[in-house]
C-alpha cells in the first residue's frame, strides 16, 4: 500500500520523464521491429524458395536469440558505441528469428494447389508472391511480428544500460537504490506496453485476409513513424550528461546537485555504471558521475569538478563488520587494523588505475601494495574445518582490491579460512547480505551509510554539515543501534561522488568546479 502511494507520487513528480521514456521505449521497439521486418521477411521469402538453407539460417537466428541480452549489448558496445545504435541493433537481432521463421512457415502453409492454380492461370512469380502467397501467409507472419514485439518491449528495458533511454531507466535506478516504487514506475508501463501491443497485434491478426493486407500496409507505414518517436522528445542542451542509474536516483546524487547548483539545463542519459567513463572518453557524453578515486580518471584524462558547495558528503571507506565475528575471533581486530589510515586518495586512484586500465588482477594489486608497505605475510597452510570469514564486496574494482587486501591479511596472520563473495552488486545487496549473515564484512563508505542506508531527515544531514568525523560518528552510532553492525576505523581515502569532464573540454570551457558548470549552463 505504501509502495503504491509512493508509486503514484513518483509518477506525478516524474510525469514528464515518464512520458519521454515511454515514447523512447515505443520508438526503440518500433525502429528495431521495422529493421527486422525489412530484413526478416525477405530472408523468410528467400528461404521458402530455397528450403535447403532454412535449417542453417534459422539455426543462426536461433543462436542469436539465445545470447543473453546483457552480453549481446556488451559485444555491441565496442562496435557501435553507446546510445540507441547498439540497443536497436540488439533488439533487431532478437526480432529476426520469429519474423524469419513465421514468414517461412506462412508461405509454406499456403496450399500447393492454390499456388499451382495461380501459376496455371498465368500469374508471374512476382504476382503469385504478392497476390497469393503473401496475403495468405500474412496471419502467420503477423503472429511472428507479434512475438517479436512482445520480446522487444521486454528487452528494450535494457537499453537504459547503454544510454538509449526507455523505461529501463526507472527500473535500473530502482534496483540500484532498492526502491520498489521506482522499479514499478518503469516496470508497470513496460508491461502495459507489452500487453497493449500484444492485444493490438492480436486483434490485427484475427482480421480477414483482405483487411489484413490493408492493416499490414498501414503497419509498415506506422513503424517508421513510431520509430521516429525516439528522436522526438530528446531535450537538447549545451552539454549532455551520462549518469549511472543509482546516481540519478539517490538524494546525494543528481537531485541534490540539481537543487544546490541549479543544474537544470543539463539533459542526461542513463547508462550502465561500467560504461559512463567510456562514454565520456568517446565524447558520447560530456559530463558524467564517477568516484573521485577511480583509476580511469587518470587513464582517460578526466577532470574531477570541485564540489565547492559540498553536496557530496564525505565517503570515507571503512570496513563494516558483524560484531559476532570479532567476539569469536578477537585476533582479527589487530589484523584488520593494519590498514587503518594506510590508503590516501592518490594511492587508491593509483590502485584503481592498475585494475581498470592496466587490467591487473585485484589479488595481484593487493599483494603488491601489502608488500610495499611491509604488511605481506605468506598465507598460512590451510587447516581442515577452520572457521570461515566471508568477505563481501560491491561490484567494482576498488571493492575487489580492498576485499583481497583483507583476505591476504587474514590468511597471512591467522588460521582462519577466507571466502570472498565479491561482486554482490550494489550497496543494498551487500548491506542485506551482511545483515542476513551471508557475509561477515564488506568495505562501505560513510556517505553511503548515511544517505542510502540510514536515510536520516534532511535536518540531521544538515546538522552533520558534511564534516567527515561527524558523519562517521553518526553512522557508527546508528549502525550499532539499528542493525547491530560495527564500523571499524576508516582506511584513509575519501571516495566521494564526483562530476567528471574530459580534461580538454573542461579547460576550453573554463570549468573547474560544479558551480562553474552551472554558470556555464545558464549562460
Amino acid at each position: 500500500m505504501e509502495t503504491l502511494a509512493a508509486l503514484f507520487t513518483f509518477w506525478r513528480e516524474q510525469a514528464g520523464k515518464l512520458g519521454e521514456q515511454t515514447l523512447q521505449h515505443i520508438g526503440l521497439t518500433a525502429a528495431s521491429l521495422l529493421l527486422a521486418v525489412l530484413l526478416g521477411v525477405p530472408v523468410g521469402l528467400w528461404l521458402s524458395r530455397r528450403p535447403r538453407w532454412a535449417p542453417a539460417v534459422l539455426g543462426l537466428a536461433g543462436v542469436l536469440q539465445t545470447v543473453p541480452s546483457i552480453a549481446l549489448l556488451g559485444f555491441l558496445i565496442p562496435l557501435l558505441g553507446i546510445g540507441p545504435k547498439p540497443a536497436i541493433f540488439a533488439l533487431f537481432l532478437y526480432s529476426l528469428l520469429p519474423i524469419i521463421r513465421n514468414t517461412l512457415a506462412g508461405i509454406q502453409g499456403v496450399a500447393p494447389a492454390v499456388v499451382e492454380a495461380a501459376r496455371g492461370l498465368g500469374l508471374t512469380d512476382g504476382q503469385v508472391l504478392r497476390r497469393v502467397e503473401l496475403p495468405l501467409a500474412l496471419p502467420v507472419l503477423m503472429a511472428g511480428i507479434r512475438t517479436a514485439t512482445v520480446i522487444n518491449v521486454g528487452v528494450a528495458t535494457l537499453a537504459a544500460y547503454v544510454a538509449a533511454g526507455g523505461l529501463g531507466e526507472f527500473i535500473f535506478g530502482g534496483i540500484a537504490l532498492n526502491n520498489p516504487a521506482m522499479i514499478l514506475a518503469g516496470a508497470l508501463p513496460a508491461a502495459g506496453l507489452a500487453l497493449a501491443f500484444d492485444a493490438a497485434l492480436g486483434a490485427v491478426q484475427k482480421l480477414s485476409a483482405r483487411r489484413l493486407r490493408q492493416v499490414g500496409g498501414a503497419l509498415l507505414v506506422a513503424l517508421p513513424l513510431l520509430g521516429a518517436l525516439y528522436l522526438l522528445p530528446r531535450a537538447t542542451g549545451k552539454l549532455l550528461a551520462g549518469f549511472s542509474p543509482e546516481f540519478v536516483g539517490r538524494a546525494d546524487g543528481l537531485p541534490g546537485l540539481t537543487k544546490t547548483y541549479g543544474l537544470t539545463r543539463l539533459p542526461n542519459v542513463v547508462l550502465a555504471p561500467a560504461l559512463v567513463y567510456e562514454a565520456a572518453r568517446n565524447a558520447n557524453v560530456d559530463v558524467i558521475d564517477g568516484y573521485s578515486t577511480d583509476g580511469r580518471i587518470r587513464a582517460y584524462n578526466l577532470r574531477v569538478l570541485h564540489d565547492d558547495r559540498r553536496v557530496f558528503p564525505p565517503y570515507y571507506a571503512a570496513p563494516v563488520i558483524r560484531p559476532q565475528l570479532l567476539r569469536e575471533h578477537p585476533e582479527l581486530m589487530a589484523v584488520l587494523a593494519q590498514l587503518d589510515g594506510q590508503i590516501s586518495d592518490s594511492v587508491m586512484t593509483n590502485l584503481n588505475y592498475r585494475a581498470d586500465y592496466l587490467h591487473q588482477s585485484p589479488q595481484a594489486i593487493a599483494e603488491a601494495f601489502l608488500r610495499r608497505r611491509g604488511l605481506w605475510r605468506a598465507p598460512r597452510p590451510a587447516i581442515a574445518d577452520a572457521p570461515v570469514v566471508r568477505l563481501g564486496s560491491k561490484i567494482f574494482a576498488e571493492q575487489y582490491i580492498l576485499a583481497e587486501m583483507y583476505a591476504a591479511l587474514i590468511r597471512g596472520n591467522t588460521n582462519l579460512a577466507v571466502q570472498t563473495k565479491t561482486g554482490l552488486g550494489g550497496t543494498t545487496i551487500c548491506f542485506d547480505a551482511l545483515r542476513d549473515g551471508a557475509i561477515d564484512m564488506y568495505p562501505e563508505y560513510t556517505g553511503t551509510g548515511l544517505l542510502v542506508l540510514l536515510q536520516p531527515t534532511p535536518a540531521v544531514v544538515d546538522s552533520l554539515g558534511g564534516r567527515p568525523d561527524a558523519v562517521l560518528n553518526y553512522v557508527r552510532r546508528e549502525f550499532q543501534r539499528r542493525y547491530n553492525l560495527e564500523w571499524l576505523a576508516p582506511l584513509g581515502f575519501n571516495n566521494t561522488y564526483a562530476l567528471l569532464m574530459r580534461q580538454q573540454q573542461a579547460q576550453e570551457l573554463g570549468i573547474a568546479s560544479v558551480s562553474e558548470l552551472g554558470q556555464y549552463l545558464r549562460r
Binding site: V115, A117, G120, L121, G122, L123, Q127, R131, P135, R210
Partner: protein, 316 residues
C-alpha cells in the same frame, strides 16, 4: 491447333513421359486416360509449361510454346485442376476475374462476363458473386474453377481430373452440365482422367497412356472394338458392356434391319445418334415408353447382333 511431337520427361531416374506425339484439331476434345502414375498429368502440364519437358516440342497454332513467355502462354489457356485451387482470399467474382484482369480487360466487360458465366454455371451472381470459396460446396467450387478458366474466353482449356474430388452424384450432374455447356462446344479441350466412363462420355478421341508411353490414340469406339494391344483390352475389360452400351448408337444397331424392314426413320424421341444406353433408359422409364416402335427385347437383340458385326468387322 495443338501439335505435340516426341515429348519426353524424366524425374530423376523415372521416365514419366516417353516420346509422346499427337495432334489435336480446333474444337476437338482429347481425353488423356490411364492408370495413376501413367504420366497423364505431367503430359498435360507440359502443354502450358507448368512442367518443362526434357525433349520434344509443343506447338499451338503453329507457334512453339517454348519460345513464348510462360505467363503469356498460360493466360491464353484455361486451366482447371482437381483441387480447384480457388484463391481463398478472393471472392467468387474476383476469382473468376483473375485472368481478364491480368489481360487488362475493361472492368465493365469483366463484370458482365463474370455475371454471364456464373449464371450459366447455375451460380446466381446476386447470391454467390460476393461469397468466399470456403462458403461453397465442392461442386460449386469446381463450377467457379470452370468459370475462371473460361473467363477470358481462351480457345484451349486444360482440365486435370476436374471432377475427381466430387462425390458420384455431384460428379455426374456437373459432368452433364460440362458436356452441355455452350461455352465449351467450340473449345479445344484436353482433359485428364482415370475414369473410363468419364472419358467415353466426354472424349472425341482418347489417348491411353501407361508408364509414360502411348498405348493407343483413337476414338472411344476404336479403343473399345479395336484395341491395339493387351493393355488396352484389359484396361476396358471390367466395364466393357457398359462402354459398349454408351458407344453404339441406334444408328449402328438398326442400320441393316431398318433397311430390310424399310420401317422408315428411327421413331421419336430417338435419333440415329442416340446411344443404346440412353434409349434403354428411356424405354425402361414407364412414362415415356408408349410412343416407341420397338421394345426393350427388340433393342437388346439388335444390340447383340450389332456387337457381333463390330467384332467380325474388326477381325477381318
Amino acid at each position: 491447333m495443338i501439335r505435340v511431337s516426341h515429348l519426353s520427361k524424366r524425374f530423376g531416374a523415372h521416365a514419366v513421359v516417353q516420346d509422346v506425339s499427337f495432334e489435336l484439331a480446333a474444337g476437338e476434345t482429347l481425353v488423356l486416360l490411364g492408370p495413376s502414375g501413367c504420366g497423364k498429368t505431367t503430359l498435360l502440364k507440359m502443354l502450358n509449361r507448368l512442367v518443362e519437358p526434357d525433349s520434344g516440342t509443343v506447338e499451338i497454332n503453329g507457334l512453339n510454346v517454348f519460345e513464348q513467355r510462360p505467363e503469356t502462354l498460360r493466360r491464353g489457356i484455361g486451366y482447371v485442376i482437381q483441387q480447384v485451387g480457388l484463391l481463398p482470399h478472393y471472392t467468387v467474382a474476383e476469382n473468376v476475374a483473375v485472368v481478364p484482369r491480368l489481360l487488362g480487360h475493361a472492368p465493365a466487360a469483366i463484370a458482365a462476363r463474370t455475371t454471364a458465366l456464373l449464371t450459366r454455371l447455375h451460380l446466381p451472381p446476386e447470391r454467390y458473386a460476393a461469397q468466399l470459396p470456403h462458403q461453397l460446396s465442392g461442386g460449386q467450387q469446381q463450377r467457379v474453377g470452370l468459370a475462371r478458366a473460361l473467363a477470358a474466353d481462351p480457345p484451349i482449356i486444360l482440365l486435370d481430373e476436374p471432377f475427381g474430388a466430387l462425390d458420384p452424384l455431384t460428379r455426374a450432374s456437373i459432368r452433364r452440365e460440362f458436356r452441355e455447356l455452350e461455352e465449351l462446344r467450340s473449345k479445344t479441350v484436353v482433359l485428364v482422367t482415370h475414369d473410363v466412363t468419364e472419358a467415353f462420355e466426354l472424349a472425341d478421341r482418347i489417348l491411353l497412356l501407361d508408364a509414360g508411353q502411348v498405348q493407343q490414340l483413337g476414338t472411344p469406339r476404336e479403343l473399345l472394338f479395336q484395341p491395339a494391344n493387351d493393355f488396352v483390352r484389359r484396361f476396358f475389360a471390367a466395364e466393357r458392356l457398359a462402354l459398349q452400351l454408351r458407344t453404339l448408337t441406334l444408328g449402328d444397331v438398326f442400320t441393316e434391319e431398318a433397311a430390310t424392314r424399310s420401317a422408315g426413320p428411327i421413331p421419336l424421341p430417338f435419333t440415329t445418334a442416340t446411344t443404346v444406353h440412353d434409349a434403354l433408359e428411356t424405354l425402361t422409364d414407364s412414362d415415356a415408353g408408349a410412343s416407341t416402335s420397338f421394345s426393350v427385347a427388340e433393342l437388346m437383340a439388335a444390340f447383340g447382333q450389332a456387337l457381333q458385326r463390330e467384332e467380325e468387322a474388326w477381325k477381318r
